[in-house]
Symmetry: C2
Subunit: 351 residues, 2 copies
Amino acid sequence: MSPTIREVARAAGVSVATVSRVLNSKGPVREITSRRVRAAADRLRYVPHGGARSLITRRTNAIGVLLPDLFGEFFSEAIRGIDRAARGAGYQLLVSGSHGDRAQAQTALRAMRGRVDGLVVMSPGVDGPTLSANLPEGWPVMLLNCAVDGAAFDSINIDNEGGAAAMVKHLVALGHRRIAHVTGPADNWDARERLRGYRRAVLAGGGRDTLALEVAGDFTEESGYRAAAVVIEMRPRPTAVFAANDSMAIGLLSAFQEMGVRVPGDIAVGGFDDIPIARFMTPPLSSVAVSIADLGARAMTRLLAALKDGSRHVPSHETLPTRLIARRSSGSRPPKPPTSTRHSRSRRRDS
Amino acid sequence: MSPTIREVARAAGVSVATVSRVLNSKGPVREITSRRVRAAADRLRYVPHGGARSLITRRTNAIGVLLPDLFGEFFSEAIRGIDRAARGAGYQLLVSGSHGDRAQAQTALRAMRGRVDGLVVMSPGVDGPTLSANLPEGWPVMLLNCAVDGAAFDSINIDNEGGAAAMVKHLVALGHRRIAHVTGPADNWDARERLRGYRRAVLAGGGRDTLALEVAGDFTEESGYRAAAVVIEMRPRPTAVFAANDSMAIGLLSAFQEMGVRVPGDIAVGGFDDIPIARFMTPPLSSVAVSIADLGARAMTRLLAALKDGSRHVPSHETLPTRLIARRSSGSRPPKPPTSTRHSRSRRRDS
DNA sequence: TCACAGAATGTAAACGTTTACATCGGCGGA
DNA sequence: TCCGCCGATGTAAACGTTTACATTCTGTGA
């Protein structure tokens, strides 16, 4: 067993209180005593017991992170950002991933009590009621890219709608008038927001019947591949397609290539997410970039601030801007450095 | 504040011991009492305090994970694998990333005491002595892809040498005799192992002067790009290049394309890691695949086993096999499904 | 020399659990 | 009726810290 503070005290010939004082540099203690204690602690390789300490101090210096079972990039980038901010403030991360159903999320949630000071939740499956039912009340929580259903919790979201609108506007600016859209799953919040952005921008650009130009997809490469056949049969044929994510855009690209349809010559293509592969496609894929790491870092920063405020904290909602990355697939010839439009940060008002 | 077990006891009109017994289904308790207690706990939304509990049970049901500051894929895949295995056994993960120097790793290490039952360490910067100096002795630790310097700790590594050798053999089998190598950083363990594999396989394939065919790189795309110029000037000119990782191989590809050197027509190219982008390159890049997620899962599984064995556990070392993924860049026309060679699992004997 | 202030240190309670042990009550067998 | 057993429950100690409070020093000014 590892040595306890008591053994250090005995070895140094002082009381446990003094050892505690020395190790936390709190309260007055003579230089000579301090040295004796430190020496003893080093000799015994003493390391304080975090659990015991947090039991009485009521602080754990840890933040719980609830994540869905996501694919590569998103998952890792989010954690990286969160970790960066947490580490800077001396906090550790208790991570819990892959929550398929509500029950799993619930047990994970409960296991966090007494181990963390706050929570970052990024689980589309978890709704407000579930959350507040399983959370010790008054816990600081930051919702990440979830469909929030009220003002009860702090939240931070990606500006999906604005990003989608920006991509459509970009296509309109290049002269496109008939712009098709491959949607994401209907029950996915991001997908719905992107659809809204698409519709808004198309209508603003002079379009009328967006419905006839929408093809249902499900965020997979295959669904993008299949959507290509539908799009190409539309009459009059669209001159551009905006896919709700890059995977589907990649599916489009390979389908078009097989069909002998040239991109962007015959039809322009745009995606969303700017996954790393995007710039390596042929032609390089235009997309909308989201800095997931920044999203995570920002969430953690705000959570830590909320932690400081304590009970006087009032929850707020924030949306993170996106960047339009114009590459060859949309038909523009990007100057170097690549065109990048920055949207102004905006606050969301409703749900 | 959240309710404690004491308040539940009072609400149910029983003692704390009984509440504990009910909630842990331990010891005899009457059905009627049990129901009363459960009702009270639900009503008060009682959630046990993990820290307090682990203080006395001496189990935290959490595993600490020490990671270096790695790029996307590796980081996330490793965590995903680790998390998968941990979750299955009901364990949580205390993650701590980005440890540049030894001091950072040390503080992270110390903060884990009393919070975790074991450790998975994947920090090339952390060596054996540092580790054992900061670890409560007798702690279960699993070293992941580190240069282990003894038999003191459990470890699990990627078969870098075997994978590199397999790639070279593959090129030899395609008829190549002059195979150049772009190395990784000299102080990187993976890079050194891959170099060893390259040398061994080249010599085994009838080659003699490997030294003249080695170009120094540093795992970055740029260094691969620069290496292309060196390789192309070698006389007689190599017919194949094996880069120690995919990033450098991608650098090679773009340089060759700019030079008008055809791949694989004029020169074959192979990489290592099989990053997701590899199959999207033109031509698709042949590589050596490592299942990082499996690496992580395997590590966690073994750690949990070690945890069970307790003091009667004897550390062992293991290397994880790699898979050769032959794509067009090496000149083979992969049949479908793509050629994949599985190496037999081997145990390492030394260091 | 003495009182006293203030610095240095010690004592013990508290944090929220689990669990060994003590207690209590009811029941069956003698 | 009494004894002993066993199931159900309560009591209190323990886990390893921090910290309010009590106590003991040390030095200073009168």
